[in-house]
């Protein structure tokens, strides 16, 4: 019975660890998908000059990524207050908001130039998120399992 209880504790602590690391995973995956979307945006604007709404609709229909709907909603309605974006920091939200609000108001050449600058900004954030995920994500996961094991040892 005690051993079963210990197994439950270790498994629960693993889940807790996973939940803590989820934030780092979300940030990393979100920014990587955002960069993919921005490259697509740049190509469609510079080459085919597709209107923003059509572009976003096309992206949603073709992308199977779990963040595609969030990104589409962001670019369509500039909505930074949704629950889905809680993993973003305030300054990141501001950077994205400023970019999205300026989209669609200049020539294709300037749009492409703005997108390039924004991609550079996002790339540096994405890189930092990847480092964080590798460092802290794994650390907290292992730490919570370790805590679970320690609790089990104390109980036993």
């Amino acid at each position: 019975m005690i051993y079963l209880f210990c197994v439950v504790i270790v498994v629960s602590s693993a889940f807790v660890g996973r939940a803590i690391t989820q934030k780092y995973v979300q940030r990393d995956e979100f920014f990587k998908e955002l960069i993919n979307f921005l490259h697509r945006l740049k190509n469609d604007i510079s080459f085919r000059k597709i209107k923003l709404n059509e572009l976003i609709d096309g992206y949603i229909s073709k992308s199977k990524n779990k963040y595609s709907c969030i990104i589409a909603e962001l670019f369509k309605n500039c909505n930074m207050d949704g629950r889905n974006l809680r993993f973003l920091k305030n300054d990141e939200k501001m950077i994205i908001n400023n970019f999205v609000s300026s989209l669609g108001s200049s020539s294709a050449e300037i749009e492409v130039s703005n997108i390039d600058n924004f991609i550079e900004n996002i790339k540096s954030i994405s890189l930092a998120c990847e480092v964080e995920r590798k460092k802290n994500g794994i650390l907290y996961y292992k730490l919570s399992i370790a805590v679970g094991i320690v609790v089990c040892v104390l109980i036993i």
């Binding site: 604007i45 000059k49 597709i50 209107k51 923003l52 709404n53 059509e54 989209l103 669609g104 108001s105 200049s106 020539s107 294709a108 300037i110 749009e111």
Partner: protein, 299 residues
Amino acid sequence: MVDGILPQRLKNLIEPFSERLEEIRLRRNAPVILRLGGKNIYLKYGSGEKVFASGQDIDEVLRRATENSLYAFNSQIKQGFITARGGIRVGIAGESVNSDNFMPTTIKNVTSLHIRIPHEVIDCSKNVFKFIASENEIKNTLIISPPGAGKTTLIRDIARKISELKNIYNCLMVDERFELASCVGGETMLDVGANTDVISGASKKYAFSFGIRSLKPDVILTDELMTKDDADACINAMRSGVKVIASIHAKNHLEIIDKQDFSNLIKGKFFERIVVLSNKNGVGSVDGIFDENLKCLYF
């Protein structure tokens, strides 16, 4: 259709006139003018006071007409217009921004907009059609009319009626300004017939040349011949055996003969039928139909 591009306050005021509405003129800090049934009237509040358009109204119309995607319309804006969904043409007046060699790159500080609403009038070509087409033959036709006399509506209906003939004629519609078929996302918003291919947004010179090679049309329909290149494209197509139905701005065929770039269209007898429209008895009034020798067939 037009309420999609109007700000809410103007939408509510203009809504009662929407069925007969032909044009809207918005000028910064000036009264809004509507054109209904060929007549211009001021838009007024219930109290009788004139409605004025603000700079914000103009900016919002532009934003809505371009669907927040100005870059997608810059080639049109350089020419002074935007064609919005549904074939609504928005003419733009403002400050031209020029490149170093004085070619316009865009328009800024927009001062006024002229919104033209297309009206599909099914069967409006009923009286003209029998002179220009039959089951066995389509005639090269030039439609001459002043602005706003219904030539675009007529051409659109002619295309539709050609598709209804028992003999199948493949039509190519060269819709340079997105007004004839108003294609959005690959679909035509206006009825141009089931047997009609549409090339939108391309110059007539390109569309005629590549269209003939790649789509092998029996008939090409196009609107508003503007330049010598347009006229030459028509002549080359006709010489290739493709029938052409086109329109041009002028009061009548005599005015065309005086225009150096277009006189050959009449003098060369390329067009077997010349249809002259006016607004005399309402939009789309047929003043006359002539053959290639300028013999009157209908008056």
